[in-house]
Symmetry: C2
Subunit: 247 residues, 2 copies
């Protein structure tokens, strides 16, 4: 589709963003500076208002796909990010973007009493029940990461009876209507514990990347506390940064 469907329930600005995204992805990454049609041209082409056009371009700019130059025009960015941690995506999807066949092995799954750092992160009392799910992440059938997820039991009663060899993200949304919306994440490095070096199949002196994440639902409530450790020889983080600005 290269034109906006005015009958579609999809907002114009999302349709236009999709059209432009496809075009950007198809464009060569050569040294040439490739410009997009001007805002007024897009108004003419798609018969929509300039405000709507700008809403589309704003989104693409935020994604780092284009950049604008005042008085000159809008250009396709030459340096585009393949996978980026700026977006909240599931670990499974993250691994797919990295080009791996994702695998998952449940190591343990039990209901426990929340203790200090977990209760704090989830903003619940220390004696409240949480599900602790420990899973090994495989990439192309090799161990890549070890992941503990802690979920408040009251948010997802009966979770313990479900199959969790699939995306937790999916289960939470489909079964419990909990939509992971935003997150705060910490990243650090340390040496592995014995448990970690055993499951990740690494020597004791190979550093691991550890990650802590609190995920919030669309209602701004803590829904998941995640602790992951990753083999530093197989896993790197990539993200893109932009200037704090508006525009």
């Amino acid at each position: 589709m290269t034109r906006i469907d005015k009958q579609s329930p999809i907002p114009y600005y999302i349709q236009l963003a999709n059209i432009l995204r496809r075009r950007i992805n198809a464009s060569p990454i050569s040294g040439e500076q490739i410009s997009l049609p001007s805002e007024n041209e897009l108004v003419q082409i798609h018969q929509i208002s300039r405000a709507t056009v700008r809403q589309s371009l704003k989104e693409l700019e935020r994604e780092g796909l284009i950049y604008k130059a005042k008085g000159k025009g809008t250009y396709i960015a030459k340096h585009r990010v393949r996978y980026s941690l700026n977006q909240l995506i599931s670990t499974t999807e993250d691994m797919i973007r990295r080009g791996w066949i994702p695998g998952l092995k449940v190591i343990s799954f039990k209901e426990i009493d929340a203790y200090s750092p977990i209760a704090d992160a989830l903003e619940i009392d220390e004696n409240e029940k949480v599900y602790e799910l420990c899973r090994l992440r495989l990439g192309n059938e090799e161990p890549v990461g070890l992941q503990w997820a802690y979920l408040p039991a009251k948010l997802c009663p009966g979770l313990i009876d479900l199959d969790l060899t699939a995306s937790l993200n999916r289960v939470m949304e489909d079964k419990y209507g909990v939509r992971f919306w935003s997150a705060r994440e910490f990243l650090g490095a340390r040496l592995p514990t014995k448990f970690e070096s055993k499951h990740l199949e690494i020597p004791a002196n190979l550093p691991i990347i550890y990650m802590e994440r609190v995920t919030f639902s669309s209602e701004d409530l803590p829904a998941e506390f995640l602790r992951s450790t990753w083999r530093s020889d197989r896993y790197e983080y990539e993200f893109s940064l932009t200037r704090p600005s508006s525009g």
Copy 2:
């Protein structure tokens, strides 16, 4: 200032965002759900149009300071990020946000021929000149990180004669008009080299976090290639993630 100055050259939407930001920062982090005035109320209060109000709120939402609920209202997010890597800021500013007194020690500064990974990152030929600046980063006078910056000589001729105990960011913008605009960053972990363990004053088995970053100017040209290593016992990354969406 709690009102919009209509004489000011600062755009209304930035003024309003600043007003609301101050108010959000002053609000308690209690369990209560605190709402902001509705969009129409903000229109009345500040005598500006709704589109302008929404432009302000959009920016605050992107920063993770507020969230909206259709049909209900706009609320102050309970989980706000103190310092976040999502924004491109200078290392000096980053350290200030972490509550440290930033310090800097120039270890070496020379003009060299670009070699393979550097030339690739900066998109220049292998025999082109680049400045290599190695600096030790101090936090509260203790070593925290070791940083190599590579800059294309043609972008900043004469840089070698300048004082670089201050922010490189500042120098590039003030002296050469090069504005760092966006970046791609990689994060990983490994053990330190001898050189690193000596300058960072750490044992050989304490992992370091290493970071590679290519910074692009507002014209989307590579302007800086940065390699940093950080003491994992003193340095952690924090960032916030949001759902890939528009809005």
